[in-house]
């Protein structure tokens, strides 16, 4: 247990363990494929599992030597901190958006999800005028793009209970 606490980059190590398991599962599921179809999957899955083991071993050794990790976020990394509740609400709104598109119809589902995400994104108090402006802007963007997609680009948009 003490060793686990000392592991260098615990989050990266846990994800690497996940990749090792995934690699083993994929190598196993590639056995039923034809020789040509399985060459790349077996090679890549094995490489992923081996590299995962190398990363775990490296992190354990560095942890035992007492080397403390810096931030695990990459240079392409996002913002550390902030509200995790808002992050979860945003993802849930996106899931609901995609799920409701064929049920409610493209425009109605998009309106509901758009304004739900707008509420999740607001961090400061707004006047009634500012809110009205945001709603008008949102409706204009949604309406404009819906018309562009359905009437100009002739993309068949999902139609459900409404439109």
């Amino acid at each position: 247990m003490q060793t686990l606490k000392n592991v260098h980059d615990p989050l990266g190590t846990a994800v690497a363990a996940g990749f090792v398991v995934l690699g083993i599962v994929l190598v196993y599921s590639s056995q039923s494929m034809s020789a040509m179809g399985s060459v790349f999957p077996i090679t890549t899955s094995s490489a992923m599992a081996i590299l995962g083991l190398v990363l775990i071993g490296r992190n354990v050794v560095l942890g035992l030597r007492g080397i403390t990790p810096g931030s695990s976020a990459t240079k392409e990394g996002g913002i550390e901190g902030g509200s995790n509740l808002r992050r979860i609400l945003f993802v849930l709104a996106m899931v609901a958006w995609i799920a409701l598109l064929p049920v409610l119809g493209f425009f109605v589902a998009s309106c509901l999800a758009y304004f739900a995400i707008m509420i999740v994104s607001v961090h400061e108090r707004m006047s009634v005028k500012e809110m009205a402006l945001l709603v008008i802007l949102g409706l204009a963007i949604l309406g404009g793009f819906t018309l562009l997609m359905s009437e100009v680009l002739l993309i068949p948009m999902p139609r459900g209970l409404f439109f």
């Binding site: 989050l11 990363l55 958006w97 304004f115 963007i141």
Partner: protein
């Protein structure tokens, strides 16, 4: 003299107006993630059937070149490449925009795109027949090595985190294998899901992996999306031009790479821009700045991807083999217009072909003023729109963009799923770019490898297929050089630093003595 007449024909008021409208429409469609250059060209092809052949082709060429360039806007301003060929633009464009240099990044992308487009079109005009033979010299082993060359960019993108970068690339390669295999037709890694049989669409993956993590973090804090530079008014054209002049070799080299890769059927702008970015970083004096907002990275990517437009037309017009998907659509339009493709095209129907090439050149030049104006307002809009409107608008674009690829909500679901996975992996230090590289290049690498293996096996010389062909060997050598260059450069730098420290110690001892 004939060419001058064709040039004047292309300069007619109607053709100029069509080129202007085509470039503008292409830029707008290309800037929207999910709406690709292929879609822009395909949707507008029927409108060109009523025009004369040269005017119709000018419109299609202008839309195509505008769409490839337009992909850079969303890559720079919202970290979502509008087209796959703008993947590498996000590496440096978005960091520049985040630190307040968005207008500068857009201007640099515009200038580089114009340079790349012009060089590609000029090579199409003067070198088309000899260059078309390059397409025939490329077989499966060369495609395999070219994809491997693109993958070596991982070593550059993952400095200090190479193992995680390689794991990410393996994950991306596995994502590219999901669905029915191109060779052998095995159904792979679908786990019984009907949704995954068609595989993971590259564009849906791109939008998810690059755009959704940005949105997830954007809603979490009060901070603005982009910083605003104190001198954000204006195009910063002088500064952009000075940077371009310092990177002139980079711009020309990337344009040539873009044209040559564009000639290869199936490779396309994404491979061209990744190879150019890799070469640009390798030959730079400051390779460590790449990925942190280095203008040279934007110049390499944008020059290369716009050069593929001219390059792609070379095998299309000379051999009848489309270099890229939009070329295939344009090839269809040419056939409908009654134009016979082949090496004789340049002599038998020179008036149409040369008017078209001059139209392409004019469209590329028009991209400069149109692009700067549209880019400036796009940047100002992104900066000015409050976060409460920006986040749902970008989210809306990700949903419709992924849906529009195949008119299928499964792509939207895959996009969101990959985005959430990408955000989680990024938190643990696994950057999205190696995953994207694996996803984009996986199919090209696998197809090239398996075909070369089968040919080699039939000839009883498998190793000869991979290591016995001069072009293969040259690409493999560049791949190895690029892979180990960051390690070698840091080792040489460390040795130099050590040597200079020793010299300083000796000098100080001598002075003390």
């Amino acid at each position: 003299m004939d060419k001058f007449i064709y040039f004047l024909e292309a300069l007619s008021f109607a053709n100029l107006g069509l080129a202007f409208a085509g470039v503008l429409a292409g830029i707008v469609i290309g800037a929207l993630p999910g709406l690709s250059a292929t879609m822009a060209v395909a949707v507008l092809v029927p409108f060109t059937f009523t025009m004369n052949p040269a005017s119709g082709l000018i419109v299609l060429g202008a839309i195509y070149t505008g769409a490839i360039y337009g992909g850079s806007y969303s890559a720079i301003l919202v970290n979502a490449p509008g087209t796959p060929s703008a993947i590498a633009t996000t590496f440096d464009g978005f960091p520049m925009a985040k630190r307040g240099d968005g207008a500068l990044a857009v201007s640099i992308a515009t200038l580089a795109s114009v340079i790349g487009g012009l060089i590609g079109a000029l090579m199409l005009m003067f070198l088309a027949p000899p260059l078309a033979t390059v397409a025939l010299a490329f077989g499966p082993p060369e495609y395999f090595w070219l994809a491997i060359f693109g993958l070596t960019l991982i070593s550059a993108l993952s400095v200090g985190n190479l193992i995680k970068g390689l794991i990410g690339a393996c994950f991306g390669l596995i994502l590219s294998m999901i669905g029915v295999a191109v060779i052998g037709a095995d159904v792979r890694f679908t786990f019984g899901s009907q949704t995954l049989i068609g595989g993971i669409d590259i564009v849906a993956g791109l939008i998810g992996l690059y755009c959704i993590p940005v949105l997830i973090d954007l809603v979490a804090t009060k901070d603005p999306h982009l910083k605003v530079a104190s001198d954000s008014s204006g195009f910063r054209l002088g500064e952009s031009f000075a940077i371009l002049m310092r990177n002139k070799v980079n711009a020309i080299r990337s344009s040539v790479i873009g044209t040559v890769v564009g000639i290869l059927p199936g490779a396309g702008g994404s491979v061209a821009s990744l190879v150019s970015y890799s070469e640009s970083r390798r030959s730079s004096k400051n390779p460590e700045n790449y990925g942190k907002g280095e203008p040279g990275g934007i110049i390499a990517t944008e020059a290369a991807n716009n050069a593929t437009v001219g390059g792609g037309f070379i095998p299309t017009l000379v051999l009848g083999i489309p270099g890229t998907p939009p070329d295939a659509v344009i090839l269809g339009a040419l056939l409908v217009q009654g134009i016979k493709i082949g090496p004789q095209l340049f002599t038998s129907q020179g008036s149409i072909v040369y008017t078209f090439i001059f139209g392409l050149l004019i469209g590329t030049l028009l991209m400069l003023p149109i692009g700067l104006v549209v880019g400036r307002y796009a940047y100002k809009s992104i900066v000015a729109i409050p976060k409460a409107a920006l986040v749902p608008t970008i989210a809306f674009l990700t949903v419709i963009g992924s849906f529009a690829i195949h008119n299928n909500l499964h792509d939207s679901a895959v996009m969101l799923g990959l985005g959430v996975i990408g955000w989680g992996l990024n938190r643990a230090g696994f950057a999205p770019s190696p995953i994207v590289l694996g996803l984009v290049l996986g199919q090209i690498a696998e197809q090239g490898f398996v075909q070369a293996y089968l040919i080699g096996n039939a000839q009883g010389n498998i190793l000869g297929q991979f290591f016995g062909r001069p072009i293969s060997l040259a690409i493999a050598a560049f791949a190895i050089l690029t892979l180990f260059y960051p390690l070698a450069a840091s080792a040489i730098g460390a040795r130099r630093a050590k040597k200079s420290a020793v010299d300083q110690t000796v000098e100080s001892r001598d002075a003390n003595a």
